[in-house]
Amino acid sequence: MKNPVFKKSLFALLLVAPLLGACKKDNDEEPTPDDDNEQITTVRYELTPAGGGTPVTVQYRDLDGDGGADPTIGTLTLAAGTTYTGKLVLLDETKNPAVIISDEVKEEADEHMFFFEPSNVNLTITRTDKDAKSLEVGLETRVVAGTANAANTTGTLKVTLRHQPGTKNGTFAPGDTDVEVRFPTAVR
């Protein structure tokens, strides 16, 4: 082909070449772990009997984050007629060392509130800590285990953390849910 058009088209293709040259650099770029992103992998509820004794701990743990492998969720068993001092620990274990999210919640206690909803289990849970505006927080609690569950039955304890910047008023409604986990729970 001696057609001049053909030459021009080759010329145009040459123009494209530098654009395509960009590939090499892009191939070297790699996804990085979302280091700066805070997530919560672990929710741990530590319950210490008021009169002393072995603490009881229950844990929700999802190390690979949302989706993927299912979380592991422990079972909480409390003794009938016992009063416990409860403490919630939230962790991001994708970081090394793990970030203690509950410390950050404590720092911003006026933006956060925990809610505890037992069902089919006789528990009375009271928040014992307060923020600067005297609204309850719930990182620290008093848990009274009442009568034992009927044999072979287990209830649940739902723990919810509401994130309510600027809108916290002691109720559930404002804000968003940061944590909502359900622990199988029984009083024996």
């Binding site: 979302d34 992103n37 993927g68």
Partner: protein, 802 residues
């Protein structure tokens, strides 16, 4: 209510069809000589838009000439080819246009009065015509003017068969015949818009003020525009660069009462008389809106702010031309806090409330959550006429899309919070190139051969959430389209072959939390073919039939999106445990359209279509939720099924009396999932719109082209949804609604300037309603009454004496 509405719509539809049938039957075919391609159109006054009777129209090549009839219509019969058409009328400046004829063609002229000192303007411009047998609709001139101030996807809803997936008042995603996102290709000034177009809450990053024409090609146009264009194509075309000497300007001003929207757009274009080949244009837009009002409350954080500019420089001679174009689009769009939920519990709470928990007064402030988007395009395009071989065109473009999405709350950690980074942050860089050779007419064949290539790189910022992985996408395509024209027939056939190489790098964590990068690579070869015919039995009737076969390779988001976004868990198909990798989808598209035009009274178009898509890739909420630390989430997964889309679009107008024009349009689409034997999710409900317009027909005086128009828009409830719908999608579909609108306008002479002014009221009765395709429908009502004032000022700043 719905029942009555549907009954009325059916009766009206039947009457309309009978009317159409009688008109078609009335047109007896006549014996025609050989070259009978119809070139017709209407000559109007640019300002008053009134027909100019007795204007002279000359085809320079053949020296055929004619005069327009009482309504300003003209009509020629010509052979296929390229012609210069010259229009002249006493008191108006003469205009010449190049028209390429390969089927019946309508070319309207709007003449400028001499008094505005526009004389001697030689308006040349050759526009690529849309593929002929394909149904397409263009918004231009007065119709486009009526949409000024709206987002691109919002404006396109004026076209029958085009709807939009909406996210509040700022985001409109165009939907054609029930298809959207990856399947609708948007050509922004000839460049395929590439960014994060997969997301239903990502509007096209285009300033509609740049366009002097918005065209929608309905149905698959994959052979010409690439294998993704299964649903259709949106063409955003600016005015051609100025070819007459002088300096012109155009100013558009828009104000809205409901959300305090203010928009100002200015265009400046020039051509130095000494160097007539050199021409340029500069354009900029500012658009800002505050809090939107429903009839009962303000929608918190619903404002947006947009700043755009573009510039173009061209050098054009008869034999060759070159044009450099650059544009930048910037927007910040507030997101309703109620829609930005943390979990399913939050969503259910928000959905159950009759009004959002947090409302507000009026404000222009945009707080978290918001989207911040920037889109840059640089394009170099050129053509070369080669005497013997035809024409060669090339387009090279580089575009970058930056999309940052900020969550409602800053991070808990103070250090992170003070950096105020977006939680989602993507950069998408795309280089495209296309080379097109249009061969010279050979016997009765005209056609073109092209190669097109795309290189795309997508990443998310370090530290932001992944959601869409890193990927590189390399696409190459070759296509060939031929048209064969004989008498009243035009046949068009096309073939295309695409090769896509998609390499994905996805960050993930193993069950014990260790980070790793998952690499996958896919290569697809996808063919496309189309065949169409157009038949013009008379000068006023065009029948078109087109069929197409397209295979579309799956995109990265359909395979690998993952994460929680606005309280919903989204998962790409390939990440579903046990799912097979996605296969390309195959679309078989058939459309028939009847277009009756340039009649004195009754004009219109009906399109009937079927789109059968095998292995249709779609997103659907599953009944089984996903467990996360924030509780259970509705899981929206990508799946494949077989789907059939069938529908009809109608648009028509009837001149009731000298000054009264009645217009009616409507569309219906029915989409079945044929594997599950149920309706498809998120399809537009049936809709119809009617308007009655009165035109004062004065030719002199201070006010010209006065008009008033009353409109009714009706949308039925979408009753065709997947089985067990409420359990899957939180809320049943909203009720149907009927809205009234009123508009009046005129061209006012201010000194020598013809100012176009209009005032439009939408949702005149301030009704409460929700729309199925608005993502805010779960949480809030639509916009209440809104008054829009539009002002258009054309300026002729100087004319260099030649």
């Amino acid at each position: 209510m719905d029942f009555r509405f549907l009954a009325v719509a059916r009766v009206a539809g039947a009457l309309w069809l009978m009317l159409l049938a009688s008109v078609v039957a009335a047109r007896a075919t006549q014996a025609q000589p050989e070259c009978m391609l119809s070139l017709s159109g209407r000559i109007t006054d640019h300002e008053s838009r009134e027909g100019l009777p007795g204007a002279t129209v000359v085809v320079l090549e053949t020296q055929q000439s004619t005069q327009t009839d009482a309504a300003g219509n003209y009509h020629f019969h010509l052979c296929a080819g390229s012609y210069q058409v010259q229009v002249s009328y006493v008191g108006y400046s003469r205009e010449t246009a190049v028209v390429r004829l390969d089927g019946a063609y309508i070319r309207n002229f709007q003449l400028h009065p001499d008094a505005v000192l526009l004389s001697g303007a030689l308006v040349q411009g050759q526009r690529a015509t849309a593929p002929s047998p394909q149904p397409s609709t263009t918004l231009t001139g007065a119709a486009l003017q009526q949409t000024r101030g709206q987002a691109l996807g919002e404006a396109l809803q004026k076209i029958a068969g085009v709807t939009a997936i909406q996210t509040g008042p700022g985001i409109f995603k165009p939907m054609i015949h029930g298809l959207h996102s990856n399947r609708v290709t948007v050509l922004n000034n000839g460049v395929r818009q590439e960014g994060q177009q997969w997301g239903t809450e990502h509007g096209p990053e285009i300033d509609p003020f740049i366009a002097s024409r918005l065209t929608v090609v309905k149905g698959a146009a994959s052979v010409r525009y690439g294998s993704d264009a299964i649903g259709g194509v949106v063409l955003v075309e600016p005015k051609p660069l100025r070819d007459s000497a002088g300096l012109g300007a155009e100013l558009n001003l828009v104000g809205m009462s409901n959300n305090g929207l203010g928009a100002a757009s200015a265009t400046l274009d020039g051509n130095i008389g000494k160097l007539p080949a050199l021409r340029w244009r500069a354009q900029g837009t500012l658009r800002r809106a505050g809090t939107m009002q429903t009839p009962d409350y303000y929608l918190k954080n619903s404002g947006f702010a947009e700043q755009n500019f573009s510039g173009a420089v061209g050098w054009r001679k008869a034999g060759y031309g070159l044009e450099l174009f650059h544009s930048q689009f910037n927007t910040r769009i507030g997101i309703l806090p109620a829609s930005h939920a943390g979990s399913k519990t939050d969503l259910l709470l928000a959905v159950a409330r009759p009004a959002p928990l947090e409302t507000t007064g009026f404000s222009y402030d945009i707080d978290r959550a918001y989207q911040q988007v920037r889109h840059d395009v640089t394009k170099l395009t050129g053509f070369l006429q080669t005497g013997t071989a035809g024409q060669l065109q090339f387009t090279l473009a580089q575009q970058t899309d930056y999309r940052d999405e900020y969550d409602k709350f800053r991070p808990r950690n103070d250090n992170l919070a003070s950096r105020n980074l977006p939680e989602l942050s993507y950069t998408n860089r795309t280089s495209t190139g296309e080379l097109l050779w249009e061969h010279k007419a050979w016997h009765r064949l005209t056609g073109s051969l092209g190669v097109a290539g795309t290189y795309q790189f997508n990443r998310y910022a370090d530290g932001s959430r992944q959601f869409i992985p890193y990927y590189t996408n390399l696409t190459g395509g070759i296509f060939w389209i031929e048209k064969w024209q004989l008498n009243k027939w035009l046949l068009e056939g096309g073939l295309r072959l695409d090769r896509r190489d998609l390499a994905v790098k996805r960050g993930d964590r193993s069950a014990n939390g260790a980070f790793f990068v998952d690499r996958t690579r896919f290569r697809y070869t996808t063919p496309a073919a189309s065949l169409g015919a157009t038949y013009d039995p008379t000068a006023h009737l065009t029948l078109s039939l087109n069929t197409g076969l397209t295979r579309r390779a799956p995109a990265a988001n359909e395979r690998f999106s993952e994460g929680v976004h606005n309280g919903m868990y989204e998962l790409g198909n390939d990440l579903v445990p046990g799912a097979a990798a996605l296969a390309p989808e195959t679309a078989l598209n058939t459309g028939l359209s009847v277009h009756w035009h340039t009649n004195p009274r009754f004009n219109g178009e009906i399109t009937v279509y079927q789109n059968r898509i095998l292995d249709f890739i779609y997103q659907v909420p599953l009944t089984e939720p996903v467990q996360t630390v924030r509780g259970s989430h509705i899981s929206w997964q990508y799946q494949q099924t077989d789907a059939t889309f069938r529908g009809i679009d109608l648009s028509s107008s009837y001149q009731l009396a000298a000054r009264w024009l009645l217009a009616l349009k409507g569309s219906m689409v029915r989409t079945r999932d044929t594997r599950a034997d149920e309706w498809q999710i998120l399809m537009p409900a049936d809709r119809a719109a009617a308007s009655l317009r009165y035109d004062w027909t004065e030719h002199t005086g201070r006010f010209r082209g006065r008009y008033a128009q009353l409109g009714v828009d009706a949308v039925a409830r979408q009753t065709r949804v997947p089985d067990n719908y409420e359990a899957r999608d939180l809320l049943a579909t909203p009720a149907g609604y009927v809205l009234l609108s009123l508009e009046a306008g005129a061209t006012v002479r201010w000194g020598r300037l013809p100012l176009s002014v209009s005032l439009a009221a939408t949702n005149l009765l301030n009704q409460r309603y929700r729309d199925y395709l608005n993502r805010y429908r779960y949480f809030a009502d639509e916009m209440g009454r809104n008054l829009t004032l539009r002002l258009h000022i054309p300026l002729e700043l100087s004319r260099s004496a030649q």
